[in-house]
Symmetry: C2
């Protein structure tokens, strides 16, 4: 479906396995801020939800599209979904995630890019 009028839509999905992903909304918001700052993206709005008994969804609407983070503390999983209408440097993104999450007990990281 590519043609000259198609905009850039860069999308990265990162699945992180952590020792624990039982974070508060404020902690997940902190990760989200580090990601958007690290990539030079601009936040417009935010929304979040804390699930019972556990699990957080945190979403930024960005000037460049959106960043969504979901946690599944029962599995130590944190899922990042970044859609951007500007190109994201994949290596920079992975390095940034490792920097942010290394200190939270990062066990494994799997990143997929769609464009």
């Amino acid at each position: 479906m590519t043609n000259q009028s198609t905009p850039v839509i860069d999308q990265y999905i990162a699945k992180l396995k952590l020792k624990s992903s039982d974070f508060t909304i404020e902690e997940v918001k902190g990760f989200a801020i580090k990601i958007v700052k690290g990539l030079g993206l601009k936040v417009l709005k935010k929304i979040s939800h804390a699930f019972e008994p556990c699990g957080i969804t945190f979403i930024f609407i960005l000037a460049q599209s959106h960043l969504a983070i979901h946690t599944w503390p029962e599995s130590g999983l944190l899922h990042i979904d970044l859609v951007s209408c500007v190109k994201i440097d994949g290596e920079k993104f992975e390095k940034l995630l490792r920097n942010i999450f290394n200190e939270t007990g990062l066990l494994a990281i799997e990143i997929k890019q769609l464009s």
Copy 2:
């Protein structure tokens, strides 16, 4: 990164090329409601943004994760990002999108699944 404690995370990205994707927030919300109803998903919260001069971002936080819709009216493009912790039937999803968007001048549809 698959192991027995990893939850189901089903993700579909649909790019739709339309005669026009210059919709209002209410219209995009209408599409989002039809998608979640058609798939039996549950809405918890919503957020949206209207860009200048054009373009809409509309996001539902779902009990099952999130649905985000972005429009690029300058390119007739509508981008759907659905993350779900319950399995989504891909054929059902495509049929649903065709039903919803056929009447809005659907020219092409491209669906990718990540799981």
